[in-house]
């Protein structure tokens, strides 16, 4: 009986792992734009069009210190003041879903 329950649990875990693999088949994408008013807008998303709402975005200086942070809204978008120092912006959607854009590439 215990063996049956264990088998069922293992099967369920494998099944979930399988689903999880297929859910992650999409690719995360991210970019930022200069609004020419002292602010930048950053947008994220996925190749399958899935929502990126709630995904964390951090603005870091070149020492890795957090200058600002926020999360993408229902339009997959978040605004920040443009730092006056060298910076990068990190889109952090989990282990393999991290993308960094450097300040010099934001125009």
């Amino acid at each position: 009986m215990k063996t049956d329950k264990l088998s069922s649990l293992v099967f369920t875990c494998l099944l979930l792992a399988g689903f999880s693999g297929s859910i992650q088949a999409h690719t995360p994408l991210f970019d930022c734009f200069d609004n020419n008013d002292g602010t930048i807008t950053c947008e994220g998303g996925f190749t399958d069009g899935g929502s990126a709402q709630g995904i964390a975005v951090r603005v870091l200086d070149d020492q890795g210190r957090v200058l600002a942070q926020g999360e993408l809204d229902e339009r997959n978008s978040v605004d920040f003041d443009r730092p006056t120092v060298n910076f990068s912006v990190v889109f952090d959607a989990g282990d393999s879903h991290t993308i960094t854009i450097f300040g010099d590439d934001i125009y």
């Binding site: 970019d31 994220g44 998303g45 996925f46 069009g49 229902e74 997959n76």
Partner: protein, 277 residues
Amino acid sequence: MLKKIKALSIGILLGIVSLSASAHFVVMYTPQTALLRASDVPMHIVFTHVFAGGPTYDMEMPERFYYTYQQGAFSFPEEVDLKPYLEEIEWHDGDRTLKAWRADIPRDVMRSLGDYQIVIEPEPYWEEEEGLYIQQFSKVMVNVGGVGGNWLQSLGLPAEIQALNKPYANWTGGVFRGVVLSEGLPVPFTQVEVEYMNHPPNLDENMFQEEPLIEAPHPSLEAIIISTNEFGEFSFAMPKAGWWGFAALTVGPERELNGEFLSQDAILWVQATDLPE
């Protein structure tokens, strides 16, 4: 008996009109529809025969020129008027100079990640030789950054081809699928004409390149006719990289203008890309 003869005549007439109206295309040309990052989007708009590269026709200022875009999976699509960016240009076709259009769509207007369905709703064109009006509801899609968007959405145009594949993401040899719609409803067993842009535009000279890219061994391979199925769907494998135009003729609801026949057509442009070496 008279009724039968009349119905037969109209059927034959529609058949002839449908055939003779073939091969006209509103070309909506931009060099690249799959953009890695946002950039200015130049677009040339010309009314012509794409496989033969002409003859080209004068095109009046479109009634409407816009894109629809959906930002985020749960927001509503929004429409942005692109007519302010239209500029009339002279298009050269041998000794003839025709009226065509160019739009330089600024980066700021198409900056966000995702799909842009760019649409032209032209004024009906009076085709003197064929004695009918042609109005082609035409679409091309541009994607910025690879984020999926509203590429699959039908816009409810009077005549429309709804894409079932992203029109900007097709390898050469890949099968493109679509649905022909009339006011949003599928049109079963209607013909779709497929033509290769055999004379790509020379944008510096405002003319189509004189030398064709391919020589078709038979007229049936110049304008390839396929049919939709019972659900209005069609599919076509694109054997060469470049631009492929899909046209569904006389599928819109209006059939008469100023006492003459009106062909309301649907056009969709699809770009095929070679696999990298």
